[in-house]
Symmetry: C2
Subunit: 235 residues, 2 copies
């Protein structure tokens, strides 16, 4: 992995000769595993994170530590507070549900259009700098039922990108990669373990209390389940 050139105003350059990939990167278990998978796949990753007034903003600290450890370029885009309204992850007045895994409805932790928007940043960046792949750590087994994590969404979105970009319309579409799509949480932990993911540096909790994971939100429960079933220690 070549050193990142953070002094450059456009911090997307790397000295690596590997092809570039954009990785949507929250600093959580899934997206960190995805990032390590991109490296394993032979790509020089550029990590892309978002500051969207999320209650679990401390995930960005994890993201920064991990990209520093890997010495890779890391972009953080700030979004105006008007976006992503109506979610318990962004609005103080809406409480993050606890001990409610297994609900049949889409929970209020759903963030309107989040993956559509994050992927679209990835598309713009990828096409502009000539990256071949865009990684996103969605999965549709141990998840909260979000519509923008399902394979049919990724397929439809990929079609739109193929049709709506210059590279796509010229026959060289950006490849949207979802290596975790059909893994359950146990399998994600086992994959991360194999790839050397520094689990203790990742942050998953939606609603941290005094900087510590709450242990009761969907994200904490799914994470705990994954480590327990995989028989892998979190630290």
């Amino acid at each position: 992995m070549g050193p990142s050139s953070k002094s450059n105003s456009v911090r997307t350059k790397s000295h690596s000769k590997n092809p570039k990939a954009i990785v949507l990167f929250s600093g959580g278990l899934d997206s960190t595993t995805c990032l390590y998978q991109a490296i394993q796949d032979g790509y020089s990753p550029i990590a892309l994170s978002f500051d969207y007034n999320q209650k679990h903003k401390q995930e960005l600290k994890s993201a920064k530590k991990i990209t520093k450890l890997l010495d890779i370029p890391h972009l953080i885009q700030k979004l105006n507070p008007e976006f992503f309204q109506g979610s318990s992850l962004t609005e103080k007045k809406i409480k993050v549900p606890k001990n409610s895994l297994g609900h049949s409805e889409i929970p209020n932790t759903y963030v309107p259009g989040r993956n559509i928007l994050f992927l679209s940043f990835g598309v713009s960046l990828a096409e502009g700098i000539g990256a071949q792949r865009l990684y996103i750590g969605v999965n549709a087994l141990d998840y909260s039922g979000y519509p923008d994590c399902r394979p049919e969404f990724v397929k439809a979105y990929s079609d739109a990108v193929r049709i709506g970009t210059k590279t796509g319309s010229e026959g060289h579409p950006l490849e949207i990669c979802t290596p975790l799509q059909f893994l359950d949480k146990k399998e994600i932990v086992l994959l991360g373990s194999k790839l050397g993911v520094p689990f203790s540096m990742t942050h998953s909790c939606y609603d941290p209390v005094g900087g510590k994971p709450c242990g009761k939100c969907d994200s904490c429960l799914l994470r705990k389940k994954g480590f327990q079933e995989a028989g892998v220690p979190e630290k």
Copy 2:
């Protein structure tokens, strides 16, 4: 049209009882016509603009004047400079082509993934605040051949949004409206004229010189053609 509540930290509220619509709004001829069409259609619009280091950033001044005139909420999202690389609209070292209308290739004024990203902001905002429509002023007749202005792109992108959002997956998809899609520039001018668009306040030039339109870029040439053929004065 109710007064906008710009003092509110979330400037998306209006006192109008009309249903809400998001309008992607650059301050140019097309998107201004689109904005006026949204009002004509009975919607209370929220205008959404972007500061992306464009050479024609002065379009934002036009956008602000027009939303002030209409007294409607107006959001401007700033993008990091890393996005939208490789375009003559954003990079100083790449010149905006002049007198080159009618080229068969996609010109270097193409901005990677621009409409995908702008639409995605619109989707997030619309779903979060319960807006029913998202307007974008794309057209595919008198245009520069951008793949993200074509009806097949809008169709594919709408499909992805229907599948990937909560409202869409529950059977109430956001309607992406493209009232200019099949109009030529003459017809856009005639429509704008009928709707009362303040043409002199709009800005179209890609490469203004000392604040004045260059008169030679694709955008200036298409605009001039539209007004000439419509027999409507620009001012």
